[in-house]
Symmetry: C2
Subunit: 227 residues, 2 copies
Amino acid sequence: MSFEVPEFEGGEGLTSQEYVYMRLRNAIMVGAIPTGASLTMRGLADVMGLSATPIREALRRLNSEQAVEAQDNRRMLIPEMNSGRFEDLVSTRLVLECHAGLRALPYISDIVIGELRVIDDEMDAAISRRNYDRMICLNHKFHRALYGANPDLTSLPLIESIWLQLGPFQRELISDVGEFYVMGDHKAILDALMDRAPEALTLAIENDIQNGLVSAGRALIERRAQR
Amino acid sequence: MSFEVPEFEGGEGLTSQEYVYMRLRNAIMVGAIPTGASLTMRGLADVMGLSATPIREALRRLNSEQAVEAQDNRRMLIPEMNSGRFEDLVSTRLVLECHAGLRALPYISDIVIGELRVIDDEMDAAISRRNYDRMICLNHKFHRALYGANPDLTSLPLIESIWLQLGPFQRELISDVGEFYVMGDHKAILDALMDRAPEALTLAIENDIQNGLVSAGRALIERRAQR
DNA sequence: TTTATTAAAATGTGATAGCATTTAATATTT
DNA sequence: AAATATTAAATGCTATCACATTTTAATAAA
């Protein structure tokens, strides 16, 4: 195993399988697992001090969520990003998150806006400290809290699947442009929520995704293709 | 096990886990497994003549795809439908499938339209024979073939997750209204594809989903609430 | 030096068994 | 008769093992 699988907070009281799932999921989400590296069951079992059984179950779940690719040789790995897949993932993310935002809007209260503001402040702190892992997690937490205002929300698992697929690439992005990486900001989203303005919210969510991820992502893929 | 898990075609050369996954997935998709019934590992293992290991892996995958719900007591079951969840699932389905259709449109060729027409004809035959299982499968096959024209398609697994969640309810719907159940028709979709008309395609896909599922679904939920 | 061939190590898969938890059934008490 | 307590059965979870396949390494041939 040529890479580390970072620990995560809140893994107490879970079954082994749940623990492995959460830990790997978190690792993929923040891009801690390099693309292309084989995720072997015995290897992960050794790293985590468990048997292969719960590892295999967790890997299969992540495979079903498109976070991990199963090859013909039955090996599991984090798939490589390419231009076509990137554009399709981003367009799906835009559609899903705008939809989730609009569906949540009627349920947005001042209390929710307050909670979102707290998360956004934490994120500003993480940004100034250049703590990228925490930036990514708090960004997800913000969006989760927003869409979760809708009590009937069913699209969150789908959105998280997209996040998982973009996670490894986003990490490469960050380590590529380094401290110049800007994460889309949430101020416009908060303004739109306060105004209860659907169109403004859609635009703000689109911009949030577009600014951080898309422009930098396209540039990196372009640069790679030339090399 | 108080229900049957129908066999499916094309399960040769699969690992046990894949076989179980496909068989259960198919069963849920066509609504063959009743909502609320416990899916026990030993029970399913007995039915399928396998050990619990591949069963559990398949169930976890389906759980990750939101097709099966894991309760606190660690039991797995097909979740019940309710009004809020239904509306949210349908709205997500509309957004995702319209998006997938639009992304596929530039890749639509006369050959693809021909293939779609063949599937649609098979579906008409299934409808006239009142073969509901086959209707459902062919409907999915039609949509899969349409969206799959996009070579970079990443949203299909998400769409299939929605189908899985609507499957059991759709079956209840069919057995409720019986032979009067109408499945949304694909003729308008084919026309829009031939015209390469984005707006018409969006409307046609919306209508396709709306006609069969939504109107009847709302009526059934309404009727249940009164009872 | 490169390519084939062979041997050894590593890996994925699935059945089994033991343990912990949950559910159902039975016995006991009120 | 109803509610509670106890016991038995069923179920979920995970480590282990044996087998088949794949990968890697070492060896032999070109």
